[in-house]
Amino acid sequence: MNNLKKIFQRDEFIKVIYQAAKKNNKIYFLSADFGASALDNFRRDLKKQFLHLGICEQNMIDFACGMALEGAKVYTYAMAPFLSLRCLEQHKTATCLMNVNVCSIVTGIGLSYANSGPTHYSTEDFACLRSLSNCEIYTASDPDVAKYIAKKTLKLTTPIFVRLDRKASFNLSKKIGIKDLNTGFRYLKKSSKKKLLIISHGTIIERALIAEKNLDKKYYNSIDIIDLIKSKPFPKIFKNILKKYSKIMTIDEQTSEGSLGSLIRENIDHYVKFKSLSLPDKFIFENLGREKLLDTNGLSIKDISKEIVNLIS
């Protein structure tokens, strides 16, 4: 962790869009009653480029699509479960089918909203969104990654989904660069023996890093960890990276069907020992806070460490 203050991914993302929107009056920001401190500045300074669409995610996407058909560059912003599943058919029929330039900032993925219950968890958005044709999907693991994804979105002309976490966090120790955005992934740790590749995305990757650090020293030079930032289209070069490994593990804060584990399996065409760690296929009604929910649902650091050892041994 390389900075002193925890930062919200959404603020980093919106700051970039705000700066770009000041110079480009075709950039619009639509919110379905969802805020951020960086958005307060946008709303104050760029009133004409901000619209509150009501708590109306479905219409927000159709409206954004109409604007984009007319040449606007539109960012839509709402809580993850509602900007993904609630309006999934709008994403299909409007933005993706017509291949228009709407970027949806899906905020609060995984168990981010652990204190709001299963309706507010977003543990299947990845599976749903990645099933849509024509779109690009990015997931931020730290605030800097969110910032770089924002820069990238300014250059894209396709439908885009950006998956952000709710919590404020430190940047991970490995500094992100624009090159990582172009390739779609970054190594957070590289070993010489390359016995096991761990792939993750989002802030759950913090747990993978801690789990790996806690392992016996004999494993230290055997494990690589990759942060998969861009998951759709699947980075071509990443397919070649996968071929280098005979043992692969994925860690995702989603339920297993269609999760990161599924994505990686779909892109492997050689024999590997494979383990996908994810949330169980059930609704969670407990209100324990996010960290405890992860701990009690198969994604504790202890669980991850144990599975690493099982796979690598």
Binding site: I61, F63, C65, G66, M67, T93, M98
Partner: protein
């Protein structure tokens, strides 16, 4: 003069479409023919203006299966290439066409891909809003079916449209009293639709969907209204062909014999003579 043109085009375009449906042996003729006269008035009455063979004003066919009804009109107005229309469905040889049964925004003159109900007003609101922002003077017409009034997204969009006070958006609501399982009144009654629209501050009028004089004068009235507006048009599903008028099964094309084909075209001629 204009009314005569509407009548001539209503016959020619209907005939073109019927022949094409017969050739393709597929499509949604009921939906197309119920709204065709409205399309004729919009395109030939100067409501959808053209420049350099492309529409200035937008038409969103929210009841997307009727998009095919735009093709022969756009062909006639030289927006779609004649070869694209002529070659569509012709098997063999080098005949190629870019037209598809399901319209999409890659086809000249077709603004959006539609089909799933309840999206069109949202699209049109976005279009209308941003074209105003760009200070482009144009209108967005959006054709919806009564079936779309069951979709919550339609009402979400009406709320926004009214709030933005977009006078460049006109909704055309096609009421042909047919949804899959029968008359909406006997399925889930939609109640007083005009009243509901007016409660959203949408200026709303009613017209017969096949009376050119009414349609023409209503669209001329609406274009002057400085608020979002709607024309409810009462239509006959499959209008123009006895074989399909008001018959739910003709939502989709049904195979017919050559005799039925010829008889239908003869009846059509008689209607417009």
């Amino acid at each position: 003069m204009r009314l005569d043109l509407y009548k001539i085009k209503a016959y020619e375009i209907r005939k073109d479409l019927f022949e094409k449906f017969y050739l393709l042996n597929e499509g949604h003729p009921g939906s197309v023919f119920s709204i065709l006269d409205v399309l004729i008035v919009l395109y030939y009455g100067g409501f959808i203006r053209l420049k350099n063979n492309l529409p200035i004003d937008d038409l969103i066919m929210s009841k997307g299966h009727a998009t095919v009804g735009q093709y022969p009109i756009l062909k006639d107005l030289k927006v779609i290439k004649k070869d694209d229309w002529d070659n569509w469905g012709v098997v063999g040889g080098n005949k190629k066409s870019n037209l598809k049964m399901f319209g999409n925004n890659n086809i000249p003159g077709i603004k959006s891909a539609t089909g799933s109900l309840g999206h069109g007003i949202g699209f049109a609101t976005g279009l209308g809003y941003f074209s105003k922002k760009k200070k482009i003077k144009k209108n967005s017409y959006v054709i919806i079916s009564e079936g779309e009034l069951y979709e919550g997204s339609t009402w979400e969009a009406l709320l926004l449209l009214a709030n933005l006070k977009l006078d460049n958006v006109t909704i055309i609501l096609d009421i042909n009293n047919n949804i899959i399982l029968g008359n909406p009144k006997e399925c889930l009654n939609l109640g007083n639709i005009k009243k509901k629209f007016e409660s959203f501050d949408i200026f709303t009028r009613i017209s017969n969907a096949h009376n050119f004089k009414n349609l023409d004068s209503e669209f001329r009235r609406l274009i002057k209204i400085k608020q979002p507006k709607c024309l409810i048009v009462n239509s006959i599903k499959g209008k123009g062909f006895k074989i399909m008028e008001n018959k739910a099964m003709w939502h989709y094309w049904n195979p017919i014999s050559k005799d039925q084909y010829n008889k239908s075209l003869k009846e059509l001629r008689e209607v417009y003579e």
